[in-house]
C-alpha cells in the first residue's frame, strides 16, 4: 500500500465549548505516527483519547495546532476512503442487517467495487470475526460484543491504509479478544497499514504495539511516548517474561502517577 502517510501531530489543542463552559480535552499534544506503525494510546478515562481520534479522522476541527499527513495539512489532505475508524460505540444502522452494515464502508469509500464483491468481502470478514450465520440479523438481535465485532468488520472490510480503533475489543471475552488481536496483527502485517489503537488494557497495548502514547488525565497531554522493543511474533512466552511485565508495570506506574496528579511533581 503506497498511500499510507506519516502522521505528524504538532501542538494540538482541542477544546469543547458548550453553553459558556470550555473543556480542554487535549492540550499541546505533539507526537509522530510513522507510516506503517502500530501505535497504541493509553490514558485515564476522559483524557481525550477519543477526541484525538476524531481530530485525526477529520471529523473534529482542532482548536489550535496542526495535523499533517505527509506534507498535507489535515484540512487539505484527502482522507476520504483512507481511514477506517472503529468508534467506541458500535454505531450500527438499526435498519441494516449485519452484512449490509459491514458493506456500508465500501459502499461509500470504494465506489468502484461491485456490489457482489462488497457483500462477498463483508461476508468473509463476518466469518473471520466468528459471526458466520449472523449475516442477516439486525443489530438489535446481536449481543453487545457481536455488535462490536460487526463494527470492527465494517472498518476492516474496505481495507483502509489507516485504521483508527477506539477500544475495539472492550466488549469481548478473553478468548475472542485474543483471536481478534491475532487477526488484526495478521492484517496489519500483511497490508502494512498504520494502526492507531486506543485501549484501557496495558498488556494489550504492549503486546500489539510498536509505540505507546501514554496520556495524562484532563487536560490530556502526552506524558510519554515509548517504543516497544519486543520482536514479533509476541506469544505466550513473552507475556510471561520479566521484561514484558516490567514494561507493563512501568506504564501502570506512570498512569497511576498522572491520575494522582503527581506527574508534575515526580
Amino acid at each position: 500500500m503506497t498511500d499510507v502517510p506519516n502522521i505528524k501531530i504538532d501542538h494540538l489543542t482541542v477544546q469543547y465549548r458548550s453553553k459558556g463552559s470550555i473543556v480542554t480535552a487535549l492540550q499541546d499534544v505533539t507526537v509522530d505516527i510513522p507510516r506503517r506503525s502500530f501505535v497504541s494510546v493509553v490514558g485515564p478515562s476522559g483524557c481525550g483519547k477519543t477526541t484525538l481520534l476524531k481530530v485525526l479522522s477529520g471529523v473534529l476541527k482542532p482548536t489550535s495546532g496542526d495535523v499533517t499527513f505527509d506534507d498535507q495539512k489535515l484540512g487539505e489532505a484527502r482522507l476520504s476512503g483512507r481511514v477506517g475508524y472503529v468508534f467506541q460505540r458500535p454505531l450500527l444502522l438499526p435498519w441494516r442487517t449485519a452484512l449490509e452494515n459491514v458493506a456500508l464502508t465500501s459502499e461509500i469509500a470504494r465506489k468502484q467495487m461491485s456490489a457482489e464483491t462488497r457483500l462477498a468481502e463483508a461476508k468473509r470478514w463476518l466469518g473471520l470475526a466468528g459471526l458466520a450465520g449472523f449475516e442477516n440479523k439486525l443489530p438489535h438481535e446481536l449481543s453487545g460484543g457481536m455488535q462490536q465485532r460487526v463494527s470492527l468488520c465494517r472498518a476492516l472490510a474496505f481495507n483502509p491504509p489507516i485504521l483508527m480503533m477506539d477500544e475495539p475489543f472492550a466488549a469481548l471475552d478473553e478468548i475472542t479478544r485474543e483471536s481478534m488481536q491475532e487477526e488484526l496483527l495478521r492484517l496489519w502485517q500483511a497490508t502494512e497499514s498504520s494502526v492507531i489503537f486506543i485501549t484501557h488494557s496495558i498488556s494489550e497495548a504492549v503486546l500489539l504495539s510498536e509505540r505507546i502514547i501514554i496520556m495524562t488525565a484532563r487536560p490530556g497531554k502526552v506524558e510519554e511516548v515509548l517504543d516497544v522493543p519486543f520482536p514479533r511474533p509476541r506469544g505466550e512466552e513473552l507475556r510471561a517474561s520479566a521484561p514484558f511485565n516490567e514494561l507493563v508495570q512501568y506504564i501502570r506506574h506512570k498512569l497511576r502517577q498522572s491520575q494522582l496528579g503527581l506527574a508534575g511533581a515526580a
Binding site: K54, S57, G58, V59, L60, R78, L79, S80, G81, V83, Y85, F87, R89, L91, L93, P94, W95, R96, L104, T105, E107, I108, A109, L138, H140, E141, M164
Partner: protein, 258 residues
C-alpha cells in the same frame, strides 16, 4: 397466533357490542329517526343512497389525498430547512408554534372568499391542518439523528447526499410516519370542514345538506362512508410504513421487558 386471533375477535366484539347497544337503545327508548336513527336504518339509507354517496365520495377522497400530499411535500421540505439551518429554525419556529395553536378550521370561511367555491378551499384547509404535525415531527426526527453516526459517515468521506439518504432519512422514518398518521386524520377533518362551508360536492356537503333537510339517516350514512374513507387512508399510511420500515416491525416483535 392464537393471541392475535383472540385479540382481533375481541376488537370486533367491541364494535358489535356498540352497535347492538345503539340499536337496542333506539328501539327501547323510541327515539325518532330524525333525532338518532338506528344502525339498521342508517345501513338501509346507505344502500338506498349508494350511487349518490359514491358520487360524492370521490371529491372528498380527492381533497383528503391532495391536501395530505401537499402537506407532506411542503412539510418535508420545510422540515429539512429547519433541521439543517439554525437560522431557518430560529426564524420560523415561533411562527410555526403560533400557527400550530391557531385553530385553522376557523379560517375556512375566509378561504371561501379567497379561493371561491369548489375544490381549492377544501384542499387548502386539509393541507394546512395536516402540514404542522408533519413539519414539527420530521424536523425533530432529522435533528435526533445520532451525531456520532454522522461523524462516522464523515470519517468515511461520505458526501451530504449519502449522509442524508443512508442515515438521516431512514433514521427519521419512524417520526415521519407517526406524523403522517396524525396528518391523514387531520386531512379528513380539513376536507370535510371545507365542504361544509365552500362546496356543493363531497360528503361534507352531503352531511350538511342532509342536516338542513332533516334527513338524519342520510346524514349518518354520509358520516359512516366518510369514516370508512378515513380508515382506508389511514390503513394506506400504515401499509406504506410497514413496507418501508420492515426492520422496525422486527424490533417490535422481540420480547418486551416486563
Amino acid at each position: 397466533m392464537i393471541k392475535a386471533i383472540s385479540r382481533v375477535s375481541s376488537q370486533i366484539a367491541v364494535f358489535v357490542l356498540f352497535f347492538v347497544a345503539w340499536e337496542v337503545a333506539v328501539d327501547l327508548l323510541h327515539i325518532k329517526p330524525v333525532i338518532l336513527p338506528s344502525p339498521t336504518q342508517i345501513f338501509e339509507s346507505i344502500i338506498k343512497n349508494w350511487p349518490y354517496l359514491m358520487k360524492h365520495s370521490g371529491p372528498t377522497a380527492f381533497a383528503i389525498g391532495a391536501g395530505f400530499l401537499f402537506a407532506a411535500i411542503a412539510g418535508f421540505i420545510i422540515a429539512v430547512g429547519i433541521a439543517y439551518s439554525r437560522w431557518i429554525s430560529e426564524v420560523t419556529y415561533p411562527f410555526l408554534v403560533a400557527a400550530q395553536v391557531l385553530p385553522k378550521i376557523a379560517l375556512a370561511p375566509l378561504f371561501l372568499i379567497w379561493f371561491g367555491f369548489g375544490v381549492t378551499p377544501k384542499v387548502v384547509i386539509a393541507a394546512l391542518i395536516a402540514f404542522f404535525p408533519i413539519v414539527i415531527n420530521t424536523a425533530r426526527g432529522l435533528q435526533s439523528v445520532d451525531v456520532e453516526l454522522i461523524q462516522y459517515m464523515k470519517s468515511l468521506g461520505a458526501n451530504w447526499m449519502e449522509i442524508f439518504f443512508k442515515i438521516s432519512l431512514p433514521w427519521s422514518l419512524p417520526y415521519i410516519f407517526a406524523s403522517f398518521k396524525i396528518a391523514i386524520t387531520l386531512a379528513v377533518v380539513g376536507a370535510v370542514v371545507g365542504e361544509f362551508v365552500a362546496s356543493d360536492t363531497g360528503l361534507g356537503y352531503v352531511i350538511s345538506y342532509a342536516n338542513i333537510s332533516l334527513d338524519t339517516e342520510l346524514m349518518f350514512a354520509g358520516i359512516f362512508v366518510l369514516s370508512a374513507i378515513g380508515v382506508l387512508f389511514f390503513l394506506a399510511v400504515v401499509l406504506a410504513e410497514h413496507m418501508m420500515m420492515k426492520w422496525q416491525a422486527a424490533i417490535e416483535e422481540t420480547p418486551q421487558t416486563a
